[in-house]
Symmetry: D3
């Protein structure tokens, strides 16, 4: 136990965790991993430790990740310019291959390995495994190339892994029936996977504190918001820009059977534990 | 989480518990409960909370208890004098009945109920259930009446309870093939039950800090002792009087397959957690 | 086999039992045990043997018991007067403790032990185990202290015991969420347990032959009565006084999914077997 | 229950059966069925009832049968003379076919049907099913045609049937790897099946009272005999002629792991029940 | 592999079977076996091999058979004339016994043995086993004696056999509650068994090519026909005489949950394989 | 089925496969995939189809692959020169990362996807998953950087995948306890995995016909060779150069419990099927 606290104080901390453990044991929690928490090595290590701890006390964690920066970096190393349309990556066939390679081969297996280092046992998956994530071309008016719109998630391989007490780590690439690979938005994928697994909780790690009524006022964090309040918040501009798709993922998860969806600040060390082991939580909770 | 610590500090405490959780998850730990920890209501509550927490993180705790003071009290209320021979209770047939009634009906079910209050699920047992603890009359040169010497422990009902995720609480009365009830020493019973369940750990809650080289010197606590060192310690008088049977229970447990036996100070709140979740422990560890 | 019959006659008796065995094998039968059958040692032994035999041929017997006389006796030995209001025991906090101790610690474990003596394997339970029988204060216009009105029965621990081929024996004390112990009417408890286990049959052992049209005419036993006939019988005074709550338990069991409820004469040796292994039965059968 | 006994007497008979039920429940008992018990319709019915009763109280009965008289009869109806060599049927290819047809198609399925009539559920097998009983040509110095010497018994289909709570009925024809059918001695087959199933008990139904020291003195029945005494009894002529192969089957069963083998008088109604439910038994018990 | 093809060609054949294996693996297919395929030894051998192959690649085949010619032959050998009413066998009590003996004892076990010879593991059943096929007297205006009209099929014994990876072979005799044996039409029995097992496919082996618009024109084979087209075909005389009951069996199977029913030419070697492993099939497919 | 053969001929081919299916069903077969079969698209497709077919008929195939050419290509695209020492790739830290990315992210998932296209269900693994393949630095006298020497294979994730009827595809990178990634020789890895899974058969796809006594004489193929003959063949130069490590993998597999190891010509379409479904096989069989 940490040196500065007496063992008795430490015991009290453990005991205070009891009701939260009771609440989550045996439940599926899907963590969408991204942002700074995926770049800063200390934060990265803290997330892995949180996940191993949760797994040990009986929470069935599934880690879902994308990895934009490393894709850009690898494309660059290979002499290929990243091209963006309205801020979204245009994914030509060659890029799709690199996306698959970087997400499923590099980031995914690195995370699996980090979890091993922290004492857990993880298995790496991507949407190609057993045709687990099926997509069609995303049709939102703009041609983004092979960016996928999820049509079906088969959770069986993840459920098997959970049943055998492994922590599944999922890279967000998908496929269609002809075997074409698609780049998929990781927020959306996490929400779909959470729904397919009837998860208790979807936790999105972001680089903001949560929904803020006033971005400049740290006290204006919205602790909890119901689906019916969202249109108003969009209208008021509280939810805007890059926040919109993240909020939509939370909404979609809740509408498809996930009990809770929460957006937390991945820049705070152990934010997952703090969120799950305190009454007030640390970010913005979306409820039906 | 406790108010005086930041949530971040609390998260660090939880994370620091990780290696200890890894060590004990899925293992059977038998706790011999007695002394002040069974009388003082705050300590009592703390022990129950420790047990529920351990149970939630996957430790398979079995609580074994006697209850001398309440037996004496009930006998007195019924106008029956307690009689002691060499400091041990003489158990005539009528006393044996009262022992059964108080241990299995009062103390046992009160503990079961306290565990419920702390959020756990316990089942109360005594040695009569399914003929689980078989005894013969103890023959140590002094006639103590119906004081039992354990001849066999059938751990099946406890193993079933554990398998179904209940916390078994065991009152230490036994029976012979003719149905006579016996009072049994709770230290011995705990050791035999630990052996029958191939427990990882036997924890004896006592009213001392552990084995002390010099009772007046708090720094003289012996943190670890191997079986081969015990005869020397008895000769030196470090182990004497009421300590001898307690030490013998630890020895017997180790010799019958239990991995670790430890004697801790039940007067310290959450001593079970502190023992199990720190490297140094809190009392005296007996090793082979 | 009994000496006075030829082995051939005995074989014929066994063979004649075949259709009844076929009828009950694998079914749950809840026996409410009480009255003379619980006081007279020969009757007691006969009931235990009946239960072990039923258990061996595949019937899943659950024994539910109270124990008024022994509670009174123990209270008296402890210098505490039993106080009755309208013929019902007033249960103050101290009395509730004694009720728990006597029912769960003495009578319950004695029955478990007697079943062992007859070759069966029993496990003793009370409503505190795993918070199995939840109560609130009974509100019938008279203050009876801690007399409980059952709000919920969780049959899981009993079902686990049955699955593992043990005979569950249940002492009728219950608890509320704060851990207060309640004395519960054993007839009511047996009916609720039978309903929670979807029992085939609830057998009430009483000290009368059954419902009699004329108490003085042994030939006036009512062999079978349907729920619709009961109001008439109450009006005629055939059902009155202490019979009313017993009849109500049978009614409640039938209304909550138990197939058959029967009231038999516990003063007749082996009345349970005779009831279950003959077409005509031995007491009064309540049917929907 | 039978009219001439009071229900109380009948209950006592049932209770007296308790220790025997305890002894056999869950055990495999192989009954070799033959002789008068297979011809006389009343005896036949009594055997079926015994078997259904045993099955209901948890005994795992396997019925093994031959059927010489019906084979002879069918051969005769088909205009084929039965030919005997040293008292044993000479089995040419055509006869082997008739043996298979009569044993597996007529007698076997008739027994299955009779068990249904008595309330049991039976499945009929012969040694051809799943190649269960493998044979080679018997080589005892005399050419008997296709009379088989068992080389292997695969008990899996019978064990599956038992596991699914059916009563297996086995017709004693076997096969070799080329598909040739063999007539097999039913005593030998029963002993081999009992060994393959690690049966508790092999019961041979015969037309004699058991081994008699003096055939004319009914009091000279040998109640129990150990393997070491058999050579002496053969020398003395107590065991001779047709008895020798029957005794040899018992010996072989005992030597291959069966606990008890007993030869009883099938001419006595319910002789199986009387044998199993009394201390003294009814015939001759062979022990190691 | 066959000598005249190169190993490469053979590999291509195997590969071309892949989609058909994918289609049928894990599915129940009931084969009604009869006609020339049951008489000609080469065809017989080919059917058995087809069935073993299907079983190995995971198809759950159930073989259902009658056996008219052998019944006639055995009756004749026993000096009993076969009597026919409107072309249907009149089954008196004695004949019913012979039918049972020949179907369940001879033909059934011969088929079981042939499957063993081809490397499969089969278990023989008839409708008497576990009272599996219950009948009443067929009432179609003509007295045919003990010809049965199926009232209930209990598929449990067949499902158990399938689960344990045996190939069930079923002889079509049934029974009523009194144990009377009935001769049953094998087409009807196969259809009822297929329905009770929720089979994917019912395959009827016949001695015709299928439904022919013009019996003399081999090119007029109807490859597929829906239930709604049948009345027209009957009216046109395309379906007539002995075809009508066969077609009715297919209709009944489809109406009771079987997915496909197909009538194929049993005179063509490996017609079952050819039907199942080609798109066009070989006979007439009945669809809803 | 292929058009040029009659359906009857095709059925004969299927039937001729029966004994080979019987031989391999339920057995684990590890295929080391590499060489031309991994480059030529037609061969690639043929291998995938072979594997799906085997999987469908109950063979438990595990596909193990490396991927030298694509590593070189990707390194080149990233402007990094491949460096070879004695013909073996020197793997610095950066190269190890690229190896992981290409093998586990590109080739592995491409194969998984190709198997999906052929109708199978595959899951992709690498040695990092659950710490499945543990390595230390290879010490063979030459510094090759992070080239791994396998110290332990945990087959559990592969066994789970097989149990759930997925086809595991394994990329040959490993890890040490500190999380360093190693490049591993795929032949060695396949042999170790085959041993850890107690495989029936290890099939190495190579770019030669097998062991040839005279490379220029196609008739000099050695069909079968025992371990004891190998030293002689090395001495004669029949086994030399790049063949030596491949042969050593086969030897090591056989010595660690694999039943058969065979080296076949991956340049022949469907060589896996031809090897497994013919008596003579297609390459060189190594036997103990």
């Amino acid at each position: 136990m940490p040196g500065q606290l007496t063992t008795s104080q430490q015991a009290h901390v453990l005991i205070s965790a009891l009701p939260y453990i009771q609440k989550y044991t045996g439940k599926v929690v899907v963590v969408k991993y991204g942002g700074n928490a995926m770049i800063n090595p200390e934060l990265k290590k803290a997330v892995m430790t949180d996940i191993v701890l949760l797994s040990l006390i009986g929470v069935r964690v599934v880690l879902v990740h994308g990895g934009g920066p490393e894709i850009t970096e690898t494309l660059k190393a290979m002499g290929k310019e990243s091209r963006f349309v309205n801020g979204l990556r245009y994914t030509d066939a060659e890029t799709a291959e690199v996306v698959q390679m970087v997400l499923a081969g590099k980031i995914n297996k690195d995370l699996v390995s980090l979890i091993s280092q922290s004492g857990g046992k993880a298995l790496g998956f991507c949407g190609l495994d057993a045709g687990m994530i099926k997509c069609k071309k995303l049709d939102n008016g703009t041609d983004l190339g092979f960016v996928g719109d999820i049509t079906h998630v088969d959770p069986t391989p993840l459920a098997n892994a959970i049943y055998n007490r492994y922590i599944p780590v999922v890279a967000t690439v998908g496929t269609d029936d002809e075997g074409q690979v698609y780049n998929i938005n990781a927020d959306t994928a996490a929400a779909e996977i959470a729904a397919a697994l009837s998860a208790e909780n979807l936790i999105e790690l972001t680089d903001i504190r949560g929904l803020m009524r006033d971005v400049n006022d740290p006290d204006s964090l919205i602790h909890e918001v119901s689906l019916s309040e969202l249109p108003g918040l969009i209208e008021q501009g509280v939810i805007s820009g890059g926040m919109i798709p993240k909020v939509q993922s939370c909404v979609s998860a809740l509408e498809n059977g996930v009990k809770k969806a929460v957006m937390i600040d991945g820049r705070i060390e152990h934010s997952i534990l703090i969120e799950m082991f305190s009454d007030e939580g640390i970010g913005t909770l979306f409820t039906k």
